[in-house]
């Protein structure tokens, strides 16, 4: 019965870990913004979350019939490059938006936007956890 109570908390805990991971990846991109030949990396949060929660068992409809390569229709042909660049760790490589001579694929504007977006979502997840733990505590105390 207690497992039922903390089930939703478990989901947010996994999301928090993934958000922290993504924050670290974006920090690496920003650190290497001037390194020649560096290929920026990023996490596909949707896929990573589906993998962490075990696709079918998630409380949200994370896995749809669409393939994971960004296609929105079942008749779309899966992109070889998009699927092949995903490593075993769930990390993908970013592409160059404005090609540069040194081969660096970090777009500083995109990385900053991603960084801020990710930190806001991290805080949101934290608030969900805080709110839910408060709810459980007040249920336990019965006051």
């Amino acid at each position: 019965m207690f497992a039922n109570m903390t089930h939703a908390l478990d989901f947010h805990a996994k999301a928090l870990v993934l958000r922290a991971e993504r924050q670290r990846v974006i920090a690496s991109n920003i650190a290497n913004a001037d390194t020649p030949g560096y290929a920026g990396r990023d996490i596909n949060f949707k896929d990573a979350m589906a993998a962490a929660t075990g696709a079918g068992a998630s409380t949200l409809p994370l896995s749809t019939s669409a393939p994971s390569s960004g296609a929105t229709h079942r008749n779309h042909i899966a992109l070889q490059a998009a699927t092949a660049s995903m490593g075993a760790s769930g990390l993908a490589y970013t592409s160059q938006t404005q090609p540069s001579m040194d081969g660096n694929s970090v777009d500083m504007d995109r990385e900053r936007a991603n960084f801020v977006d990710n930190s806001v979502r991290y805080e949101a997840t934290l608030r969900f956890i805080n709110g839910q733990s408060k709810t459980i505590l007040s249920a336990i105390q019965g006051q």
């Binding site: 991971e21 670290r24 690496s28 290497n32 930190s119 991290y122 934290l126 733990s133």
Partner: protein, 134 residues
């Protein structure tokens, strides 16, 4: 805690950028330096960055791999009255291009600021995580 490694990653970047800023400072300081009696003037220097893996697959820091000297020819200015002028009246000066160095300086300073901001955000998030459940 995986977020603690952000401080290592951004810290390495901040230190690499400050080394770049140091090199720019010495280039600018020697912009008008005149070659010594051996004819070897100051040659402009540039840092070369390199990615360095930090622990896991996801985090990669940066370090200065090498400091290279520019291969451009030294500047020769016609100034016969200068004490260091050669037989033809030319003075050999460093090959530093001050405009390039100023651009380099601004770029290094912006990158430095970006990484400091990343560290500040990571600190705020970690502090909020510590207060979880209170």
């Amino acid at each position: 805690m995986s977020m603690f490694s952000i401080f290592n990653v951004s810290g390495s970047a901040v230190s690499a950028q400050s080394q770049r800023l140091n090199v720019v400072a010495s280039n600018l300081a020697n912009a008008d330096a005149v070659a010594g009696p051996d004819g070897q003037g100051y040659k402009s220097r540039q840092v070369v960055f390199e990615t360095v893996p930090m622990g896991s697959d996801a985090s990669s820091g940066v370090r200065v791999n090498a400091i290279r000297e520019s291969t451009e020819p030294l500047k020769r200015v016609h100034n016969p009255s200068h004490p260091s002028a050669d037989a033809d009246g030319y003075v050999t000066q460093s090959n530093v291009n001050p405009v390039e160095e100023m651009v380099n300086m601004i770029s290094a300073s912006r990158s430095y600021q970006n990484n400091v901001e990343v560290m500040n955000t990571a600190k705020t998030l970690l502090l909020k995580t510590l207060q979880m459940g209170q």
